[in-house]
Amino acid sequence: MSGWEYYAVVLLVYFATFLISAWGLNLEFGVAGIPNFAYIVLVAAGAYTYSVLTLGPSSGNGGFQRYVLGATLPYPLAIVCAGAVSAVLGAVIGITGLKRLRPDYQAMAMLVVSITATTIVIADVGLVNGSAGLALIPNPLHSLGGGSRQAWGYVGMVFGVCALVYVVLRRFSSGPFGRLLRAMRDDEDAALAIGKNVVALRIAVQAVGGAMAGLSGALLVGFIGGWSPSAWLFIETMALLTAIIVGGMGNDWGVVAGTLIVPTLIVQGVQFLPTVGGNPELIPQLGWMILGLLTIAFLFFRPSGLIPERRPVSRVALPAAAPAVRTATFRVPEARAAADASDEILRVEGIRREFGGVRAVDGATFGVARGSITGLIGPNGAGKSTALGIVSGFVRATGGSVRFDGVDITARPPHRRARRGLVRTFQLPREFGSLTTLENLVVAAPHARSESALGVLGGRRYWGREEREITERARALLVLFQMEDKAFERARQLSGGQKRMLEVMRAVMAEPSLLLLDEPTAGLSPMLTERLGDACLELRDRGLSILLVEHELDTIDRLCDTVVVMVQGKVFAQGAMEDLRRSREVQEAYIAG
C-alpha cells in the first residue's frame, strides 16, 4: 500500500470515528445544552472496553501489559459492549449534572472529572496499564489480512456504522424529540413547569451520547491497535467542541463540516507534515494553536457556526378560517377522583421557608376552591413568590404541606406536579427562545407520543397524527390570543408583552386543572391585560382553577372570586375583595408592609 493510500485511509477512518463522537457531543451540548466537557472519557471508556474484551488474558500476551478482564469476545459483540459501557458511564456522569449549577460550573466540573480520570488511569497501572497504555489490540477485520483490503474494508465498516448512527441520531436530534431537547436547553425551569422530566431527559441524552462515544472509541482503537492516556487528554474534547462550534452547534450537518475541518484536517492532517527543526512538539502544538485560534475567531465573529441551527419549517398547512376556537382550544382535564370530597383543588397548610435567617414564608395556610379564580396579594416581601414556588415545587418548604386534588404533593418534584395538572407561569417570561411561538406551544402538550421512547423508535408513523392535532390546538390558541401572525417567529424575538402572553398560552397548552399565574399582567398594556383577563374568565367558566399572584388591584377586582392576603410570610386574611378592602386591618397591614 502506497504512502498516499495509507494517508487517505487514515484520514477517512479518523473522520468517520470523530464524526460519530462529534455527533454525540453535539447531541449533548449543541442540542440539549449539556456541557459535557468529560466527553472524551466516554470515548476512552469505549476504547478500553473493546480492548480488554478482545486482548485476551494479560498473561497470554507475554505479560508485559497489565489490565483488567482480558476476554476474547467476538468483535461485533465487543464493539457493542463498548457502546453499552460508555452509555452507562454517560448516564452516571449525567447524574452529577442534577445539581442545577450554572452551566460553566458544570462544564468545569466535567473538565475536572476528565483530568481526574486521566490521573487515576495513569496511577493505577493494573487497570489498563497506566501511562504506557495498551498495545496489540486486535483489528476486527484482521481476518482480511493486512494491506489494502483490510484498510479499505475498515473504511467501509466505519462509514457504515456512521450511516447507522446518523439514522438513530436523527430520531433524537430532530423532530419533536429534538424540539423537546432544545426547549430544555433554552430554559430548564420552564420545561419542568410544563411537566417535562428534565432529569430523565438529561440521563437519556447522555446515555445516547455516551453510546456514540463508546462506539467511536472502539472503532478508533480497532484501527490504531493501541491506546494510552495521551490519546484522550481533556484537550481532545476541546477538538470536538471546536468542530461543533466551527461547523454549527445543534446542526448535525454543521457538525459534519466542522469535523471535516477540525479534527480531521487540522489535528490529524497536521501530524503528517514533516517535523521542522529539533522540536518534535512543534507541529502538534501548532495544530492545537490553530484550533484555539479557530475557536476564538468563531466565538467572536460567528458563534452559530458555518451552518447554523436551522429554523424549522412547519409542515402544517394554515386552515382558511379559524376553527371553532372556543370548544377546540382548551382542554381542562376531568377532576381526578379526589380522595377527599372537599371542593378545594389546592390546600396549603402551614408552609414555611427560610432564606439565610429570614422567614420568607412563616406558616401560611390557605386553599383554592375548585373552579375559582383566587387571588394572592400582599405587600412586597410578604412571601407570595416563595409561596407560589413551594406550591409549584420549585422551592422546597422547610415545613408544612401542600395538597393538590386530594393528594399530598409536598415532596413531589415540579414536573410531576405539572403532569398532575398543576402548571405555573413565571414572573419574568421564560420562553424557549430558539423555538418558534408555535413550537413553544406544541412542545407543552402533555403526554405526547412523540416524547416517549416508543415515539423516538416509532417515528412519524407513530406520532404524526397526534402532532397534527396538537399543532391545530396550538394554532387555535394563537388565534384566540391574536398572535397567529407570530406563529413562526422565534420566541426570543417577541416583545416583552408578547412573551408574557406566550407564557400563559403555553401553560394552558399543558392542560392544567390548576393554573398558577405569577404576576401575569406586569408590564402588559391595559388592552393586553383585558384580553388576558377575558381568557382567564373563559377558562374558569370551563372548569379551570386559577391561583393568581397580582399587584394590579383592578385585575384582582375583575377576575378574582376570593383573595388571599399574605403579609410577612403568613396568611393575613382570606375572602371576597370587597370585604377585605373595607377591612381596616388589611389596609394597615398592606400599607405598613
Binding site: P35, T96, K99, R100, L101, R102, P103, D104, Y105, Q106, A107, M108, A109, L111, V112, V113, I115, T116, T119, I120, I122, A123, E188, D189, I235, M238, L241, T242, I245, N279, P280, E281, L282, Q285, L286, W288, M289, L291, G292, L293, T295, I296, L299, F300, P303, G356, G357
Partner: protein, 297 residues
C-alpha cells in the same frame, strides 16, 4: 506524630502557593463573573519566566517583581483585548469558558514551541532546610510562606482601608450602581486585572521554585488546586480563597503521604467535585451572597 506534623508542614508550604494563585483567580471571577481557565496557562508562563531569570542569576526578589509586573500587564491586556470584548458580544457562560480554554491552549502552545517540551528541574537547588517546632522547611518554602502572608495582608488592607479597595468591592458587587456612585469602573477593572495578574505572576515563580520538576502542563494541573481552593472558600471571596488554599494544600499532602504521591492530585480534584456537588457556594458564603455567582439562571 512526626509524620503528621511534617505532612502539615508540607501542606502549609504548598498551601501558601495555592492561596496566592487562588486569590488572584477568585478576585478575577468576582470582577468578571467568568471562570478564567487561561489563568493556568498564565501561571505556566510565569513559572517559565521565573526560571529563565533565576537560572541566569537574577536576584529572587527582582525576579518576583519583574515577573509579577509582566503578568500584571499581560492579564490587563488579556481582559482588554479578549475577555471583555467577548463578553460584550453576549457570549454565554459556557462559551466564555471554552474561549478561555482556547486561549490557554494558544498560550501553552506558544510556550512549548519557544522553550521546548522538555521538563525543567530547578527547585532542587533550594535545599537548605530550617527546622523548628517539628517542622522542616526549606528556605525557599519559608520565604514563600512569608511572601504569601505579606501579600494577603496587603490585599486585606487594600480592600478594607483604601478608596480603591472599596471601589473594587463595589464594582464586583454591582457595576452599574458603582458607576452611579461616581466610580470609574473601567479603571477599577483594569486595576483589578493588574493586581490579580501580579498575584498570578508571584505564584508562578513560587511554583517554579518549589516544584522539583515541571513542564508545560504545570499550570493546567495546578489550576485545579487553585479552583478547588477558590470554590471551597466561596468563589469571588479573597479571604475564602486564602483559607481554601491552606485546606487544599494540607489535604493533598495527606493524600500523598497516606495514600500515594500519584494520588495527590486526586485529593484536590475530589475536593473540588465534592464542593460543586454539595455546596457550590463555598464554606464561607457572605450574607445575602450574590445569586448571579451560583445558580443556573
Amino acid at each position: 506524630m512526626g509524620v503528621i506534623v511534617q505532612t502539615i508542614g508540607f501542606g502549609i508550604a504548598a498551601g501558601a502557593v495555592i492561596s496566592l494563585g487562588a486569590v488572584g483567580f477568585t478576585v478575577q471571577f468576582g470582577i468578571s463573573n467568568v471562570l478564567n481557565i487561561t489563568y493556568g496557562a498564565f501561571m505556566t508562563l510565569a513559572a517559565y519566566l521565573g526560571y529563565a531569570l533565576l537560572s541566569r542569576g537574577l536576584d529572587v526578589w527582582i525576579t518576583l517583581a519583574v515577573v509579577g509586573l509582566a503578568l500584571a500587564v499581560a492579564s490587563l491586556l488579556f481582559n482588554r483585548v479578549f475577555l471583555a470584548p467577548l463578553q460584550r458580544r453576549g457570549a454565554g457562560f459556557v462559551s466564555l469558558v471554552i474561549g478561555t480554554v482556547a486561549a490557554g491552549i494558544i498560550l501553552q502552545g506558544a510556550i512549548v514551541i519557544l522553550v521546548g517540551p522538555g521538563a525543567i528541574t530547578y527547585g532542587a537547588q533550594f535545599d537548605t532546610t530550617v527546622s523548628g517546632l517539628g517542622f522542616d522547611f526549606t528556605v525557599a518554602q519559608l520565604v514563600i510562606i512569608g511572601l504569601a502572608l505579606a501579600l494577603m495582608l496587603g490585599l486585606h488592607v487594600l480592600l478594607t482601608r483604601t478608596k480603591i479597595g472599596r471601589a473594587m468591592r463595589a464594582t464586583s458587587n454591582n457595576p452599574t450602581v458603582a458607576r452611579a456612585c461616581g466610580i470609574r469602573t473601567s479603571r477599577i477593572t483594569d486595576v483589578t486585572w493588574l493586581l490579580t495578574g501580579f498575584l498570578c505572576g508571584t505564584a508562578g515563580v513560587a511554583l517554579a521554585v518549589t516544584t522539583v520538576t515541571f513542564d508545560f502542563n504545570l499550570g493546567s494541573t495546578f489550576l485545579i488546586y487553585m479552583i478547588a481552593a477558590a470554590v471551597l472558600g466561596g468563589i469571588g471571596q479573597p479571604y475564602g480563597a486564602m483559607i481554601g488554599g491552606l485546606v487544599v494544600g494540607i489535604a493533598s499532602q495527606f493524600g500523598a503521604a497516606y495514600w500515594s504521591p500519584a494520588y495527590q492530585d486526586v485529593v484536590a480534584f475530589s475536593i473540588l467535585i465534592a464542593m460543586l456537588l454539595i455546596r457550590p457556594r463555598g464554606l464561607f458564603a457572605a450574607a445575602g451572597v450574590n445569586r448571579r455567582n451560583l445558580s443556573a439562571a
